[in-house]
């Protein structure tokens, strides 16, 4: 099928090229567009030939040029914030227009499925478009970071792994228990791979970013978010979680001829140090000095008095607060983004080429990121009937030392977050500044526990690196067969090559070599290629008049999608020559190989009927065939047919509304989408070999821990949505409200099996998840007085998810582990998606915590049941933006908030266990005792005033993992409501007068800030969203790295 579609595509191009020679003569209309208030030329105004998609935009000087087929055409001029003007040509060749501010913003064009540009008013579903300027006001390393909180209904969170980490994007609630919940990304018409390239688990690991982070945010022209099923249904199964359409800049709208744009952004990032331990008591045990002087982790010693004491190395040191260790280990990093772009804009089309270089460092000084990105995008009218677009992007990303997180032995935080307040981490820096004693071997921090690595050693001895090469290429051609009929084809591929170099350093310590957990060191070199290919062909009509009042546009199409992943590598164990990190420098090596391929073929169609331009009805249908559900002899279907309908009613045209309403639209839609299994080869049992054999004999195993299931069928997702678009007070206030309700049935899940079956899980169709929610977007131009303008925007989302059922037993589907607690993240029938559950306090009738006496100390009692302790996914999200412009200054701020969720915090647990947490210091100090809040078993309030030694036991018993751990999940589940100051920028646009007689067309300079802090944060000691990865089990923190806050300067010049 791929071949067929490609053939057809070539056919179209050839056919249309041939046809192009026989063009009818056309007329070119030119003119200048100005602002009626000040007469300034307006760039980027959309000029459309009415009733067609023939259009252009004005250049930097407000000039436009458009070829039209009929002298009697009507030209439409539209520009955001201005009233749209329609001008009948009446044979004229020059049309100058002056646009009035205010006016209809509603003819704004948005990009919908398959890149079709549609008028917002005709759309019966919710779609949000974010412009590139918005994303690049403060440049972030990944385009998704900048989108955070800005789109109602879209929940974005990042992993707590620094600037290279991945993002989790969920639109209108999670719909799959343990499958994919992230949207489909389309870039210039082609689907983009957004694989997670390794993420941390509960025990550690590093996040190697996601596929989207290879995209340079600077190249993005706009992002359209197709939230609902009705919007996305045309893209089929892969769009069951919504679609994010990225359109890259193409030079359209740039100044005529050659344009050059240069920009620089320099950001300084430091840690947002939320870690706030007690600094009153030093290291020791049970209120006394350490019995073992080498113990540097327990902060249960006496009040620090500054007197000299024998410390871990036998020397005398003042027993006093040693200062903030985090700021010693983490450093201020500099991230610089330089970008040059060239544009060419002619009557025939436009081209843009850009080079962007990002040179970044994380707050972990050894962790670096370098990205070189090239982008070439050209749209040419090869003839009046044939438009051709090609977009090629190449990026090369080098990453070194991606931070190892969680409690993994090689993580920095594993020991840093436990270090007693009187211990200075600089004492362990070693003679070489890298935590070694001889340049190679770890300088122990004097705890024989192999899970603790000297933070300096962890910081400087993470020689892992990776290089990602990415080539994205898309071509599309559209040929207008007649005025109303066209044929269009597009094809493209996304090719990613990732070279991994995973190294666990060796060294020597305590008589054994290595970061002590990896005595001999381990090296892995791997190359992964991920290829994805898309091709689609459509035949359609832009405008088909059915009656005087009714018109139609629509198309039918066929598409194919294929993806292939191949992985080759070598694993070496036991490093021979210390400090030499190449895989052949190991005692033994073994090979790695993996391969996966899958395909989806599709047929689809869409029809939109317009009734007097007041009511629009759109219907789509699509059938997908899945290779992952195909097998010889399989009796259940490998394909599904589904569709959508949506309706848009322009109330303000049909009914006489009070004058304050400039515009009112009611919309609604219903959709179905089906989805196949993501992973191939899940239908039958297979065998393979493991390792390199043993003593001459190969070792044969049953592959995988999942019981294959040959009867899997596509899952289903249905969605109903309603919405209201209102523009009030002459467009000064706009309100967009949406309600949606979706339901996933027969999800394809790896359901837990009893290990006694021989397998950990089985692939089955099961369960039901629903999401119901509201989305609200309000934009208000609060002040509009010539030089002074203030725009406020507010968005609000509330999503209520519900796990209606799971498997036939309605058991819990585990999604994540809150490491070191008897609490997990999972899906429980009757509860929202992804709740934190685990054992809780035993409480009496009054809700007071029941304590039992352990060794004479009242300790909170736990109940070993799967009690829901919090929501892993916050149901409510708000975004609040202000944009204040005064003359040439613009001040922009953005606040992001989430409410109603919780996080299980391992950092807080650890700090309590080790006596670092503020709560371990009662208001009168530990010396004066502490009376736990609660009641004793069998009744009676606790009156016992605990001694220092007992205070230690109290917190240790409640939070320790030790033998006597009471495994209290509830103790460290925190509500994580927050309001984050996510972006700030103060821009100055140098007045054009000053630039006169220079080559410079425009110059902007801005002070920018990113993730600056919190107006509200309910979680002590770390970022409220410091999840260790971006997988389906959200809500658990595991000794997270502090997240950075950035300030900087951004300069942009156009020539």
């Amino acid at each position: 099928m791929k071949q067929k579609i490609m053939n057809l595509l070539v056919l179209i191009i050839v056919f249309s090229a041939v046809n192009s020679f026989a063009q009818t003569t056309t007329t070119t209309i030119t003119g200048t567009i100005t602002d009626s208030t000040d007469g300034m030329e307006l760039p980027n105004v959309t000029v459309l030939e009415k009733g067609t998609t023939n259009g252009t935009t004005s250049d930097f000087n407000g000039k436009y040029s458009i070829k039209i087929s009929s002298k009697n055409a009507v030209l439409m001029f539209s520009y955001l914030g201005f009233k749209t003007v329609e001008v009948p040509l009446n044979g004229e060749n020059v049309v100058n227009v002056s646009l009035e501010a205010g006016g209809e913003v509603l003819d704004e064009i948005v990009i919908t499925a398959f890149g079709f540009e549609k008028k917002t008013k005709s759309i019966g579903y919710s779609i949000t478009q974010v412009k590139g300027e918005e994303l690049n006001r403060v440049k972030t390393t990944s385009p998704l970071q900048a989108l955070r909180g800005k789109v109602a209904g879209v929940n974005i969170s990042n992993s707590s792994t620094g600037i290279k980490g991945s993002a989790r994007v969920v639109i209108r609630g999670n719909s799959s228990f343990n499958g994919n919940n992230q949207p489909l990304y389309i870039i210039d018409g082609i689907s983009l791979q957004n694989q997670q390239l390794g993420s941390a688990g509960e025990w550690g690991g590093s996040d190697n970013g996601d596929g989207l982070s290879a995209i340079n945010p600077d190249d993005i022209k706009s992002i359209s978010v197709l939230k609902g099923g009705a919007a996305a249904a045309l893209y089929g199964s892969r769009a069951s979680n919504g679609v994010i359409i990225i359109k890259t800049k193409d030079g359209k709208g740039a100044k005529k001829g050659l344009g050059i744009e240069v920009s620089n952004q320099t950001l300084f990032t430091t840690i947002n140090d939320l870690y706030d331990p007690q600094t009153t008591y030093g290291n020791g045990i049970a209120g006394g000095f350490p019995t073992d002087p080498v113990d540097v982790f327990n902060s249960w010693g006496p009040r620090m008095d500054g007197a000299p004491r024998t410390t871990y190395d036998g020397s005398q040191q003042p027993y006093e607060y040693a200062g903030d260790n985090f700021n010693r280990i983490f450093s201020t990093s500099v991230n610089m983004t330089n970008s040059v772009s060239l544009t060419s804009n002619t009557d025939k089309g436009s081209t843009r080429f850009s080079v962007t270089h990002l040179d970044g460092k994380d707050v972990v000084a050894t962790s670096k990121l370098r990205r070189l990105a090239f982008s070439l995008n050209t749209t040419q009218k090869l003839s009046d009937k044939l438009t051709f677009n090609a977009s090629v992007k190449f990026s090369d990303v080098d990453e070194t030392a991606n931070p190892i997180v969680a409690t993994e032995p090689a993580s920095i935080m594993g020991s840093l977050a436990r270090l007693a307040p009187n211990i200075n981490v600089n004492d362990f820096i070693g003679d070489y500044g890298n935590g070694t004693i001889d340049g190679i071997n770890e300088l122990s921090i004097f705890d024989s526990n192999i899970y603790r690595t000297n933070p300096w050693f962890a910081l400087h001895n993470n020689p892992s690196s990776m290089e990602k090469e990415r080539l994205l290429s898309a071509v599309s051609a559209k040929y207008d067969i007649s005025e109303s009929l066209y044929i269009r084809g597009q094809a493209g591929f996304d090719k990613a090559t990732n070279h991994y170099n995973n190294t666990l350093a060796n060294g020597a310590n305590l008589n054994w070599p290595g970061i002590r957990f990896y005595p001999g060191g381990q090296l892995q070199q791997q190359t992964q290629t991920l290829d994805q290919f898309d091709a689609d062909v459509f035949v359609g009509t832009d405008f088909l008049k059915i009656t005087d009042k009714i018109s139609m546009n629509g198309f039918v199409g066929a598409g194919t999608f294929s993806a292939k992943a191949e992985n080759t590598g070598v694993l070496g164990n036991l490093v021979v020559i210390p400090g030499l990190f190449t895989v052949l420098n190991t005692e033994g090596q073994s090979g790695l190989y993996g391969y996966q391929a899958r395909k989806i073929n599709s047929l689809y169609g869409s029809a939109e009927f317009s009734f007097a331009d007041n009511i629009y009805l759109t219907a789509t249908a699509r059938n997908d065939w899945f290779s992952t559900l195909s097998a010889e002899g399989k009796t259940t279907p490998n394909n599904d047919l589904y569709g959508s309908v949506s309706l848009s009613v322009i109330l303000s045209d049909l009914v006489k509304l009070p004058e304050v309403f400039t515009f009112a639209k009611l919309r609604g839609g219903y959709s179905q989408v089906a989805g196949g299994a993501n992973n191939p080869y899940g239908l039958g049992l297979t065998y393979g070999l493991v390792g390199q054999g043993h003593l001459g004999s190969p070792l044969g195993i049953i592959n995988g821990g999942v019981i294959p299931n040959a009867s899997i069928t596509p899952f289903e997702k249905n969605e109903t949505e309603f919405g209201l678009d209102l523009k009030l007070f002459d467009n000064k206030l706009s309100v967009d409200f949406a309600y949606y309700s979706n339901q996933t049935l027969k999800d394809i899940v790896n359901a837990a099996a009893s290990p006694a079956s021989g397998f950990s899980s089985s692939t089955i169709n099961l369960g039901e998840i629903t999401n119901k929610g509201v989305e609200l977007l309000v934009n208000w131009r609060a002040i509009d007085k010539g030089d002074l303008a203030l725009d406020l925007s507010f968005n609000y989302t509330n999503n209520k998810s519900l796990v209606v059922s799971t498997d036939e037993n309605n058991g819990i589907i585990q999604a994540g582990i809150a490491q070191l607690f008897q609490s997990n993240i999972g899906h429980i029938p009757g509860q929202p998606f992804g709740v934190i559950y685990g054992n809780s306090y035993v409480r009496d009738d009054q809700g007071k915590i029941v304590h039992q006496l352990v060794d004479g100390v009242p300790v909170a009692k736990s109940e070993n049941i799967n009690k829901v302790l919090g929501l892993g996914v916050a149901p409510t999200q708000v975004g609040f933006g202000t944009n204040l412009r005064y003359k040439n200054f613009t001040l922009n701020t953005f606040l992001e908030g989430k409410f109603g969720g919780s996080i299980v915090s391992n950092t807080n647990k650890t700090m309590k266990e080790y006596g670092l947490h503020q709560v371990t210091v009662p208001s009168g100090g530990r010396e004066n005792g502490f009376v736990p809040d609660g009641v004793l078993e069998g009744g009676g309030a606790i009156t016992q005033n605990l001694s220092e030694a007992q205070i230690y036991q109290y917190w240790n018993q409640t939070n320790s993992l030790g033998a006597s751990r009471s495994q209290l999940g509830e103790e460290n589940v925190y509500k994580n409501d927050f309001i984050r100051i996510s972006q700030l920028s103060l821009a100055y646009r140098i007045p054009i007068d000053l630039l006169k007689d220079m080559f410079i067309q425009s110059a902007n300079i801005s002070l920018v800030g990113n993730n600056l802090g919190f107006l509200l944060n309910k979680v002590p000691n770390h970022d409220p969203e410091a999840y260790y990865n971006t997988r389906n089990g959200q809500g658990a923190e595991a000794l997270s790295m502090p997240i950075g806050k950035s300030f900087g300067l951004s300069i942009n010049l156009k020539f």
Binding site: W512, Y595, N703, I707, S754, A756
Partner: protein, 493 residues
């Protein structure tokens, strides 16, 4: 234009009816995997994995059974030393066995059945399955046996728990029939990583396992025990260390090729030899003291029943005050013993003693002690060779005494089962020897979940309560609560 539209529609129809999923069935076949596999690689994996990887081996065998028998103490994981529970440690063996070795042996037997094999290979597979299951039943009690590991064969994701007695009787039958199926040769070749194709040794292995199981049920079903033990001895058990079932390990290339303790030892820096074992060896002038304990470390075994901070506060000691297990026997290429001649001879000695045949018991006892003392030099490190005169001196100083026979045999079995702490723990519970003291006679640790008594079993994963709820509740009804006090079927001592 109309032509093009017609062309497109026709094309769509063609595509729709003929090729929308053309080739999909082939595409969805994993080119890197096979839908079937020869038996030999399956057997090789089964044998090697049965010796355990570091994960399940360290978690359950060392940190649970090893500490319960007071042979090793790791103060970083003191749970089993103070008789409380850390679930992941206790359940690792159960989970890993089912998802690797049990699944594998069930698959092998299924394939042998399909191939109509009723010969040597089937015999070995049935015996091996019994060997694997006895490690599970003895530690956990009732367990999914008849339906266990069959998820891919029957689709049974939630197997029922079978009564331990039924399992024992079936295992004994399987061994008997398995031994009978073993012929004079096998097709396993190099895949027979245990005996290299020597089928006579496989018969001895089967009978020795039969003897082990027979002795295990001595207190609960004396008649059956005697009958099966007689059958085993008549059939022919191991009669020298050359019959001992070893897995030889190599230095690599991967952890599966390596001895589990060899991987474990450098990681668990506070794993020390237990004081109970250390002192027993020292008190008897046992040459194995400097074989099992690191002769280059402190001359003391690790105290038992304490947490690390208590060790500091009460005794002013740290784990570094105690000897490690000798690195010479915990190398990456150190072998693993499934069943040894020494263990078998000790069981025969006990069987003879019970029958009043004391001279035979003494001979077997002496042979067993000799064999166990020699095995370290012959199979681990030549520098550990114990010469005959040293052994003779030991046997002279510690002669077999008929009246003390049961105790002496039990203690020797405990010492001879070093590394295989499951076996050591089972034999202790069954025989009562050595006479281990909880908390060395001191007050129990406050966290103990057994009222200070020595635990009698390991626990099932609590997740069974949700993923296999009905069967799990049924087994708790039948056997007792999922704690360490509930006893397995044969444990009535």
């Amino acid at each position: 234009m109309k032509k093009l539209l017609t062309l497109f529609i026709t094309l769509s129809m063609v595509v729709y009816t003929t090729s929308c999923d053309n080739g999909f069935e082939d595409l969805n076949v994993d080119p890197t995997a096979s839908t079937d596999l020869d038996l030999n690689p399956k057997f090789a994996y089964l044998f090697l994995k049965s010796a355990g990887d570091e994960y399940e081996h360290s978690f359950t065998n060392i940190l649970c059974a090893g500490q319960l028998t007071q042979q090793v103490i790791d103060m970083d994981f003191p749970q089993s030393s103070i008789y409380t529970i850390r679930e992941d440690l206790q359940t690792a063996w159960w989970i890993v066995s089912y998802t690797t070795t049990i699944k594998s042996v069930v698959d092998i037997i299924g394939q042998l059945e399909n191939e109509g094999n009723v010969g040597t290979e089937m015999g070995i597979a049935r015996i091996w399955k019994a060997y694997l299951f006895h490690t599970i039943v003895d530690q956990y009690g009732d367990t999914p046996y008849f339906d266990g590991g069959k998820g891919f064969l029957t689709g049974n994701l939630r197997p029922a728990y079978d009564d331990a007695q039924k399992i024992y009787m079936d295992m004994l039958n399987e061994i008997e029939e398995g031994v009978a199926q073993i012929g004079s040769s096998s097709t396993l070749g190099a895949a027979d990583l245990i005996y290299g194709g020597d089928t006579s040794k496989w018969k001895k292995f089967g009978n020795s396992l039969m003897l082990r199981l027979a002795m295990r049920i001595k207190n609960v079903d004396a008649t059956a025990s005697t009958a099966w033990a007689n059958k085993a001895i008549t059939g022919g058990t191991m009669n020298s260390s050359s019959d001992t079932a070893f897995m030889n390990h190599t230095n690599g290339p991967q952890p599966i090729n390596q001895n589990a303790w060899g991987v474990y030892q450098p990681r668990y820096v506070n794993a020390r030899i237990g004081a109970t074992l250390y002192d027993w060896l020292a008190d008897h002038g046992d040459p194995r003291l400097n074989i099992l304990a690191d002769p280059n470390g402190p001359a003391a075994g690790n105290r038992f029943g304490l947490e690390k901070d208590q060790l500091q506060t009460i005794y002013g000691e740290s784990p570094d005050s105690f000897a490690r297990v000798n690195p010479a026997i915990t190398q990456l290429d150190s072998p693993w013993v499934f069943i040894s001649y020494a263990q078998t001879a000790l069981l025969e000695a006990e069987f003879a003693a019970s029958a009043g045949n004391h001279s035979s018991a003494e001979t077997k006892y002496n042979d067993a002690v000799r064999a166990n003392m020699q095995i370290w030099g012959s199979h681990y490190d030549a520098s550990l060779t114990v010469d005959n005169s040293t052994i003779n001196d030991y046997l002279t100083a510690n002669p077999y005494v008929a009246l003390e026979g049961e105790r002496m045999i039990g203690e020797q079995y405990w010492a001879a089962s070093f590394f295989d702490f499951f076996e050591s723990f089972s034999n202790f519970r069954r025989s009562g020897y050595p006479e281990l003291q909880p908390f060395a006679g001191e007050a129990p640790h406050p966290s103990t979940t057994t009222n200070g008594e020595i635990p009698r079993r390991l626990i099932y994963p609590s997740s069974e309560g949700s993923v296999n709820a009905d069967n799990f509740n049924a087994v708790l009804q039948a056997q007792g609560p999922n704690d360490q006090i509930t006893r397995v079927w044969w444990d009535v001592n």
